[in-house]
């Protein structure tokens, strides 16, 4: 029993923190959010830390770190919140390739992810939205030695930043195929969706043609590969949300101490205190369900699946409600974009459904508990 970070994890944490504070100041993050700067401008800085290869084994050019170590990185990025395709590429696509890719595919693609040369996005969901195989309709048809994909993938995270895509499509056999597609290939077009969300895109595939060897997972059903990858990726996403929430708590606490109204710090009022306390309660519920689930996954413990669904549901709900409470603390100041709280509010909404909503995870939790 030891609930502290290892020395190595602490070093990792401070390295990423240093990077975040240098490359992603609040002013930069607000500018990225406003579209004045782009995440690509700051990509080299992120690459220099080697964090994109965290989950990639050394033989493929990565670090081969555990989920818990990788979570330390992502919790720190979440504090920004640092946007960009680091999660799509370094976590989600990486795990799909590790779970389902052939050795040749891993050798061809993973080193590029680790070095940042290739940036992957995963195109899974569509207009008929959901996180199950039944929601994948976009067809991939065999045309000689090629596969032709036709359709529109929606709410694809970071597609406009990607060089490569993994597209979930319906094969003629009825199975789900995970197809590696060149993001700049013919018939492929990504468009950022404006609104109250960060990094969501529409991806159009118009007779996009790729060699049949681009299928990841070979004969195995692509959904099974995706499911295994998402179970792990979900834990890293939770850690990112925990980081976001911990920043939201720090902002709320500081504001309650420094903002004065009625000639005293507003935190003197119990009605304000309650909102700050709500944030710390959401934070700690998210933090400890996530940490335990990470530990169980790395150790392959019985109950790891239930712990993952618990963490995912609790964390997405906590980030959502924690931001609401933070807005109660900050009132008008909180909605001034320059202040920075809305970066989190927006992120909490963006990630709410990502890899499954709280309701989705609660349903899966019921199954994992044998109900």
């Amino acid at each position: 029993m030891d609930l502290t970070l290892t020395e190595q994890q602490m070093m990792l944490q401070s390295a990423v923190r240093e990077l975040r504070e240098r490359e992603y100041t609040k002013e930069t993050l607000v500018a990225i959010d406003a579209g004045v700067e782009s995440t690509a401008d700051h990509w080299p800085g992120l690459l220099s830390t080697g964090i994109l290869g965290s989950l990639i084994p050394e033989e493929y050019g990565g670090v081969g770190a555990s989920l818990a170590d990788t979570a330390v990185v992502y919790e720190e990025l979440g504090r920004g919140p640092v946007p960009g395709p680091h999660f799509s590429s370094g976590v989600l696509a990486t795990l799909v390739l590790l779970e389902g890719g052939s050795d040749a595919q891993k050798r061809a693609l993973l080193p590029g992810i680790a070095s940042g040369e290739r940036v992957f996005a995963l195109a899974i969901t569509e207009e008929d939205y959901g996180w199950g195989p039944e929601f994948i309709h976009t067809p991939a048809r065999v045309r000689g030695d090629d596969l032709a994909i036709d359709g529109t993938k929606l709410y694809v995270h970071d597609a406009t930043d990607a060089t490569d895509l993994i597209v979930a499509a319906r094969l003629e056999t009825g199975k789900i195929g995970l197809v590696h597609v060149d993001a700049h290939g013919r018939g492929v077009a990504a468009r950022a969706l404006p609104g109250f969300a960060t990094g969501l895109c529409e991806l159009s595939l118009l007779q996009a043609s790729v060699p049949r060897s681009s299928l990841i997972g070979g004969m195995e059903d692509g959904w099974d590969v995706l499911e295994r990858a998402m179970r792990k990726a979900s834990l890293i996403l939770s850690a990112y949300q925990v980081g976001g929430l911990s920043q939201v708590f720090d902002m709320s606490l500081l504001y309650s101490q420094t903002r004065r109204q009625f000639e005293q710090p507003i935190g003197r009022f119990q009605r304000v205190q309650d909102h700050v306390i709500d944030v710390v309660n959401y934070l700690d519920a998210a933090r400890w369900t996530t940490y335990e689930a990470l530990w169980m996954a790395d150790e392959a413990r019985e109950g790891a699946l239930a712990a993952m669904h618990t963490a995912a549901a609790v964390t997405s709900e906590s980030y959502y409600y924690g931001c609401n409470s933070a807005h109660d603390v900050h009132a008008g100041i909180g909605i001034i974009r320059e202040y920075g709280l809305t970066l989190h509010t927006k992120m909490s909404r963006t990630l709410y459904h990502y890899l499954g909503s709280p309701r989705y995870h609660r349903k899966r939790l019921a199954q994992a508990l044998g109900l």
């Binding site: 005293q264 935190g267 003197r268 205190q273 700050v276 519920a285 335990e292 712990a307």
Partner: protein, 417 residues
């Protein structure tokens, strides 16, 4: 990070020893849904077990051996807790919150003489102690107590009324804070006394309450009103000095605000409600197939996990000697609030059967009906949910330049008694 409680071979050997000893010594006791049903004979058996544990230093395993504790480290104490938990018992195996809290205050604030006199009696299970805090006019504002004492020669004469006290089957000692300076400044006008319950002038009268429960395995049974009518208490029973009672109380209040719960305790009610759902059909279909039932059970499960993890975090931090600030009250608040959500989930899953104590129709021998009442009753002891929030706010330093400092704890408690 490591969430495992892994034992060394020496610790495993100790576990075997404890398990074997308990198998020989734990008496057969009925699993009363309502702790008030504990008979005098059953209580006597619990006390006997307590004395036998005390003899081995296992009643208060982490308290210093020189005063009758076990002087054992955290792991050994945990092992004893875990093994007793199998019998739905805890240390002590009867209601002795007064001893658990009071011994800590005496450890920190008592004179050497007082430690040598009071602590062995408590730690060896020779006495049971009640805590006397609330009064009819003093609840959350504990420092406003009006029970008073006047110096009379070498003694103190105590007068007043305390409520929500103790258990059934009596106690040998009680401790309380009383006002010793009628005109003194708030928080500097109180004194902490360890009082023998057989002194003339003490009257104990059971209260009629929604539920008379307490901690599992150490259930309190009944709550009483205790009247002090010119009770003469010798000065040697004053702990921590005159008008220093608020600081002495700070020690046990610190423990009560979330540090009492054992880290190993399983959520028995979760097991009961899951088992009920798995073994029940409604309209010809298993209850577990009903999506509404699934939702309720998952809510229950998630709440239970968060409460468990917050307490586990606190326990692990203390084991590492880390000073807790807001965490104790946070875990306690979550425990209190989720008790109400859990009660609602049970009511949703079981319907009106959850409310029935009738022997023919009650679920789980009445444990479910008792829980429906207990979830309400659980909201106030050890400080209301609102008081926990006040403590969290002060400890986080919300709206303050300086955070409030926690009450002073004895080393043994810091390390996880």
């Amino acid at each position: 990070m490591d969430f495992d409680l892994e034992w060394t071979s020496a610790q495993l050997a100790f576990q075997t020893e404890v398990r074997a000893w308990l198998a020989d010594h734990v008496p057969q006791l009925p699993d009363h849904a309502d702790p008030a049903d504990l008979t005098a004979d059953e209580y006597a058996l619990q006390r006997k077990l307590g004395r036998e544990l005390g003899e081995k230093g296992w009643l208060y395993p982490s308290m210093p051996a020189e005063y009758g504790g076990g002087g054992l480290d955290l792991a050994m104490s945990m092992i004893i807790e875990e093994e007793l938990d199998r019998y739905h018992l805890a240390t002590p195996p009867y209601y002795d919150t007064g001893g658990r809290l009071g011994s800590a205050s005496i450890m920190v604030w008592g004179s050497d003489e007082q430690k040598e006199y009071f602590l062995p009696q408590i730690l060896k299970g020779e006495v049971r102690t009640w805590q006397l805090l609330s009064e009819p006019e003093s609840g959350s504002d504990l420092a406003s107590v009006s029970t008073s004492s006047a110096k009379d020669g070498d003694d103190y004469l105590i007068n007043g009324t305390k409520i929500f006290v103790g258990s059934n089957h009596g106690a040998e000692y009680s401790w309380t804070i009383v006002k010793t300076n009628q005109n003194g400044e708030r928080h500097k006008n109180l004194s902490w006394f360890m009082i023998p319950m057989d002194l003339p002038g003490i009257t104990v009268e059971p209260m009629d309450l929604l539920l008379v429960g307490g901690e599992r395995g150490a259930a309190s049974g009944v709550k009483n009103t205790v009247y002090f009518d010119n009770v003469r208490v010798p000065a040697k029973h004053l702990v921590g000095g005159e008008n220093n009672g608020w600081d002495v109380a700070g020690t046990h209040l610190e423990i009560e605000h979330g540090l009492l719960r054992s880290a190993v305790r399983a959520d028995e009610m979760l097991e009961r409600v899951m088992a009920y759902a798995r073994n029940t059909t409604r309209g010809g279909r298993p209850l577990t197939e009903d999506p509404d039932v699934q939702d309720s059970l998952v809510d229950f499960y998630v709440n239970s996990q968060v409460t468990r993890l917050l307490h586990f975090r606190n326990f692990a931090y203390r084991a590492q000697g880390r000073q807790l600030t807001y965490e104790g009250s946070q875990a306690y608040l979550h425990q209190k609030r989720s008790a109400l959500s859990k009660a609602r989930a049970i009511l949703d899953v079981m319907g009106p059967r959850a409310l029935v104590s009738d022997p023919e129709w009650a679920v789980e021998d009445g444990h479910i009906e008792v829980h429906q009442r207990a979830s309400i009753v659980e909201q106030h002891p050890g400080g209301t949910a609102e008081i926990q929030r006040v403590i969290i706010a002060r400890r986080l330093g919300i709206g303050r330049e300086q955070r409030e400092q926690p009450g002073q704890l004895p080393t043994a408690i810091k390390q996880g008694q």
